[in-house]
Symmetry: C2
Subunit: 358 residues, 2 copies
C-alpha cells in the first residue's frame, strides 16, 4: 500500500480467492522488479528530499487536481492541495480489464487508478493542526476526484483512505492520503450492502439511521457531535479507540455532500483526530470513507460514513484467519476517555457535545 | 490476543456488528482493570521468569493435558507438551451464554475456553528445531484438546493458532500456541463454508480438492509435498509468502487425522516453517488451523487446511476498511524462492518435492 511496496509493482493483476470471493491486487512479473525478497521495513525514511514539498513538484507526475491560494503577488501560484497520480501505482489507468479464467481461478488486468492527495504544502503538519479551511479543501479534493473517477465505467468503486505513521502503512512523512479506483467492489463494501439490505427488507428502514438514533439516545459511546455529523465508538469495535463518523442526513454517496456538510465533516474529523492524538500520544492511524458504489440504485439502503482506526495493537494471524477480534478496550470506555478530553482541549466552538453523557 | 492484552480482560462479552454480522470479543467493566489506556507495546519482555519453563509449572493454572517423556529415572516425570488454561483468558468457561439484545445490537456473555499449548520444555527453541516427534506431539495436543472442547455443546467452533514473534502478536518467547473455543462460528469460517457450498452445489465437487489438483498439475505455486500433504502459495495470496497446507485426503474435520497423517503434517509444517525462516531471516509469523465446525453435517463440502502467514508488511486501514489487499510478491515467486531453498537446506528425506517445478 505504501510507496516502498509499490516500488515492486509494475504490471499488476487482480485475482479472486476461489472460495471466499475476495479480490487481491498481485504484483506482476519478476523480471521487471529489482528485489522481491527485500526487507519489508515500514520505517519512514527521511533521508531523501521530500517529493511532496513545494519546489519539488517535478518529482511527482503532473497533477490531476490542484487548489491554489487566493493570495496576491508571488504567493499567487502557491498550492494548498495537490492530487497527483501515484508514481508507483498498484493499478494502471490504461487498457481493458481482460477478464479471464485460469482453471478454477479468476483474474483480470490491474486496471484502475491510484492517486495521492498531498493535503498541505507544510511538510511537518498533520490534520489536527490544519486550518479549518485546509481540512475542508482536503475533503473537497476527495469529493472532486471521486466524482471524476466514478465517471469511468470501468471502475466499480473508489476508495479514499489515509495512512498516518509508519506503523499504519505510510511510507512518506509529508501529510497525504490516497485514492484507489477499483474495477471490482471490495468484499467489505459488498458485505455492508448485503447486511444493510437485509435489515431494510425486514424493517423498511436504513440500519445506519437506526444506529445513529440509538447511539444519540444511549450517549455512552458518543465522542463528538455537530449539526451535520455524529462521531461514536462502534458497539462492536474491533480495535481500541475505533471511531465512526456518520452524517445525520441519510445519503448513500459520500459525493452528495454539500459545502455546509463538508465544513461539518472537516470540523468533526479534526476534532476526532485531535482527541485521539491527545489520548494516545500521536498514534499511527488510518481513516477511510465508506460510500455506496457509483450507480448503486438502492440509495435508501446504504448510508455513507467514515471510519477512523488508531493502530495500537498488533493484529495476529488469529484475526486474519478467523475474522474474529478481541478488543481489550470496551468502546464505552474509549468514548468516555475521548469525551473527557473536552476539558483539556482547546476546542473551537461547535466541537462541544450537544448531549454530553453523564 | 496476547497475554498483555489479556491482562485487561476479566469479564468479557461477545458483540455482533449489526451490519456485517461479525462477532467481536469485548473486554469487560473498567473497574476491574488497572489501566485501559496503557501503552499497547508489542515487544516481548524477557525480564520476568518464564512461566512456561520446567520448574515453574505452579505459575500457570493446572494443566488440562500433559504428555510426558517415556524415559527412566529422574527424567521420568519430565513433560514434553503441556496444555494449560490461559491465565488471562479472553473467554470464561463457566456459565450460560445469556444471549440478549440491546436495542438493535446483539450480545452474549464471553463464554468459551482459552488455552495455551506449551509446545516444548526448551525455552529457546522454535518449531523448525523441534524433533519430528516433538512436532507430532504438538499436533496431537491440538487434536486432543479440540475433540475434548468440541464435546461441549455451548461451543460452536474451536480455533487453534500460533503467534510467533512480538510483531505477530506473541507476548512470551517460550514456544506456545493457543486454542480458543467460541460460542459462535467465526465469519471467515462462515464465508468459507458458504463459498465451498456454492461450488459444491454447482459442480458437485469439493473446491479444495479441485484446487489441490490444479496446484499439483500447475506446479508454479508448490512449496513442498509429501505422501499426505501439499503446501503451496495460494493463487490470491493476500500477503507475501503466505502458504496453505492441504491434506490430500478429503476430510472436513482436522480431528479426523490418523497418526500417519499427523506425522505427515508435522513433517510438512516443519519444512514450510524452516523454509520461511531461511528465506526471510526468522520472520514473525502466524499459523492457524481451519476446520469445519463440530457437527457440521455437509462433510463433502469442506476440507480442513492450515494457513501460514509471515508478518512482513504493515496492514493499513485500507485493508481493514475495504477487505482489499495489495500483495507486492506474486505467489509464484514466493513459491519458487521457497522451493529453491531445497539446495541449501539440510533437508531430511521425505521433504523433497515429488514434482519439482522447472
Amino acid at each position: 500500500m505504501n510507496a516502498s511496496m509499490n516500488d515492486l509493482i509494475l504490471e499488476s493483476e487482480l485475482r479472486k480467492d476461489p472460495v471466499i470471493g475476495r479480490w487481491v491486487i498481485v504484483a506482476g512479473g519478476r523480471s521487471q522488479r529489482p528485489n522481491p525478497f527485500r526487507n519489508y521495513s515500514t520505517a519512514i525514511k527521511n533521508d531523501q528530499p521530500c517529493p511532496f514539498c513545494p519546489g519539488r513538484e517535478a518529482m511527482t507526475p503532473p497533477e490531476v487536481l490542484v487548489y491554489r491560494s487566493q493570495g496576491e503577488g508571488p504567493a499567487e501560484a502557491a498550492w494548498e492541495v495537490r492530487v497527483v497520480p501515484n508514481k508507483y501505482p498498484a493499478l494502471r489507468i490504461e487498457g481493458a480489464l481482460d477478464k479471464k479464467g485460469e482453471g478454477l481461478y479468476d483474474r483480470m488486468r490491474g486496471v484502475g487508478a491510484h492517486e495521492v492527495v498531498i493535503e498541505t504544502a507544510v511538510h511537518d503538519s498533520d490534520p489536527p493542526r490544519y486550518s479549518a479551511r485546509q481540512m475542508v479543501d482536503v475533503i473537497n479534493a476527495y469529493r472532486d476526484r471521486m466524482t471524476d473517477l466514478a465517471r469511468d465505467t470501468r471502475f466499480r468503486y473508489v476508495l479514499v483512505f489515509k495512512n498516518h505513521g509508519g506503523a499504519a502503512g505510510a511510507s512518506l512523512e509529508h501529510p497525504h492520503s490516497q485514492i484507489i479506483a477499483l474495477p471490482v467492489v471490495p468484499v467489505r463494501t459488498e458485505n455492508e450492502l448485503a447486511g444493510a439490505g437485509r435489515y431494510f427488507d425486514y424493517r423498511g428502514r436504513c440500519i445506519y439511521c437506526d444506529i445513529l438514533a440509538q447511539e444519540i439516545a444511549d450517549t455512552r459511546r458518543l465522542v463528538a457531535q455537530n449539526t451535520d455529523f455524529v462521531a461514536f465508538a462502534p458497539y462492536a469495535s474491533r480495535f481500541p479507540f475505533e471511531v465512526n463518523i456518520l452524517p445525520r442526513h441519510h445519503d448513500a454517496f459520500f459525493w452528495m455532500l454539500t459545502r455546509h456538510q463538508m465544513e461539518g465533516l472537516a470540523e468533526i474529523l479534526q476534532d476526532v483526530l485531535r482527541r485521539l492524538k491527545l489520548a494516545l500520544s500521536d498514534p499511527p492511524y488510518n481513516y477511510m470513507i465508506h460510500t455506496a458504489p457509483p450507480g448503486f440504485p438502492h440509495t435508501e439502503r446504504y448510508h455513507w460514513q467514515m471510519e477512523v482506526i488508531p493502530k495500537l495493537t498488533e493484529v495476529a494471524g488469529f484475526e486474519w484467519g478467523s475474522g474474529f477480534f478481541i478488543n481489550p478496550t470496551p468502546p464505552e470506555e474509549a468514548a468516555r476517555h475521548l469525551r473527557e478530553l473536552e476539558r483539556v482541549m482547546d476546542v473551537p466552538e461547535g466541537h462541544l457535545l450537544a448531549n454530553p453523557a453523564p
